[in-house]
Point group: C2
Chain length 299, copies 2
């Protein structure tokens, strides 16, 4: 295997973020009708964001020596699902948030009904992206991609985690429930992002399992850090309302185990993510860097 040119994770995120944004801008065309729906979908899809999920997918594909053009529609499908989940999460019936990614939330701009449909549309269209005939990928690969995304995003994954998160607002704090929430609500889709990169890169079964483990632990670390940032960062730094978890009586790591132990748990997940990578036969410096970046946000 030829060694990939070394690329710093931050530099990678900057470069790939721009390419992801360029691609996302082409997913819907300006003449799509009804315009009110497509405007609302574009508004949330193209709002500034880290693009963590597509970037991870593309980083894994790159690690497996697949050119990013080949993996781009696959990576984009993850951002569509993520954008949908944010729109629905922010609705008055859910978290009732006014601010997201530094902008008014979708329903504040387009109204609740259109926001609901924009979320539905983004979610469904993610599966159109994956099932449209893609060059470079076999039907078997595309079908596995659909399965990975549907399973991670659905009731056995993200949607289940969101429901558990809701129910937890009226429960007394406990670590088992918290772990269920974070594993499902956030880690499932981040794991899927990594696995989907592995599918595109035709990883072996063993590589895929180790990469899945990396993605799962990275996803948990990421959500634990998100919990911390909600306590320690400002609204401007977050681009969404700071302190929202506490106001909504969310069950979070700082609430359940305190801030110091939360930091330790994040570091522990990071260690496990890196341990999984170390067991692969791949050049993983980019993936190591991305994991470290995701956790270093707290310092």
């Amino acid at each position: 295997m030829t060694k990939l040119p070394h690329m710093d994770a931050q530099e990678f995120l900057r470069e790939i973020g721009q390419k992801i944004n360029d691609y996302l801008a082409t997913v819907f065309t300006p003449d799509n009708e009804p315009q009110s729906l497509f405007n609302a979908m574009r508004y949330s899809l193209l709002a500034p964001g880290k693009r963590l999920r597509p970037a991870l997918c593309l980083a894994v594909a790159r690690t497996l020596e697949v050119a990013e053009e080949q993996a781009m529609p696959v990576a984009a499908s993850l951002e569509l699902v993520h954008a949908y989940s944010l729109i629905h999460d922010d609705l008055p019936a859910m978290d009732n948030d006014d601010l997201r990614r530094g902008q008014p939330t979708n329903h504040k701009v387009f109204g609740e009904a259109t926001a609901l449909l924009a979320g539905d549309g983004l979610l469904t269209h993610a599966f159109s992206l994956l099932s449209h005939r893609l060059p470079f990928l076999s039907s078997e690969q595309q079908l596995e991609l659909v399965w990975s995304l549907a399973n991670a995003a659905g009731p056995h994954g993200m949607v289940g985690g969101q429901q558990a998160d809701l129910s937890a607002e009226t429960q007394s704090p406990n670590l088992a429930t918290l772990q269920f929430i974070h594993t499902h609500k956030t880690a499932a889709l981040i794991e899927a992002a990594v696995v989907m990169g592995a599918i595109v890169g035709q990883a072996s079964i063993e590589q895929k399992e180790l990469l899945a483990s990396y993605g799962r632990h990275l996803g948990l670390a990421f959500q634990i850090v998100d919990d911390l940032l909600d306590v320690t960062a400002t609204t401007q730094e977050l681009g969404k309302s700071s302190g929202a978890d506490e106001r909504q009586h969310k069950m979070t790591y700082p609430v359940v185990v305190g801030i110091a132990e939360t930091r330790r748990l994040a570091e522990n997940e990071l260690t496990q993510a890196l341990a999984a990578l170390a067991k692969t036969d791949l050049h993983t410096s980019l993936l190591v860097g991305l994991a470290e970046l995701s956790v270093r946000r707290i310092h």
Copy 2:
């Protein structure tokens, strides 16, 4: 081709409806967590209904001599998508309905947040059903099924129709908008049901096109009749609130062209659906019967 034993459409719907219900009851198992989410999904999925979309899919598969067990997960995916669309449609931000299929609507029983997530979960899980490795079907067939469903249900199909339906509440009545709404909101998924049966049955390209035309015209006829029934039937007959369209200022056929012309348009769509069938080389008596039944509801 061996001739299928003749089966009356009404008899078929009764028999297949029971089998569809039996299968739908197995899609989620009682130990799935979080129970609140799965209970809400099951509540709407298993509520009494005509099962028109899965029945059409299975009728086409039967016409192409495919045993129903082989097509059942595919048929079920259509009912999951239909159930999701009803849950979201009934939400306070949308039509704000209290009654559906003769029962309180999902959000009336489980609350708005859980109803929203139950819809999201059903929609996403439909794609899990289609992408899980299915015996009897090739990866190519499964991928084409995913594409057909996603395209028909997404922003270029059903979700787009729902948005147009919303926007039309504040527009002056016109036939072009009304046709856009009905083609997208209802006919797209009914056409997909027929096409998905054709994919399972490995129909030729020509057969598939004719069956798609049958499905599209049948879907339009069905929605036109639904518009009529909202005016002419009672709440008890409908299992949902009668007269709701008028109260919500919906743009419907009776509003735009009057009741007599609406009946004529329904008959016209039926005629076109049957004409498409007549051009196939298939034994279409069951499909003819189903189309006639869908329109005969008005008399």
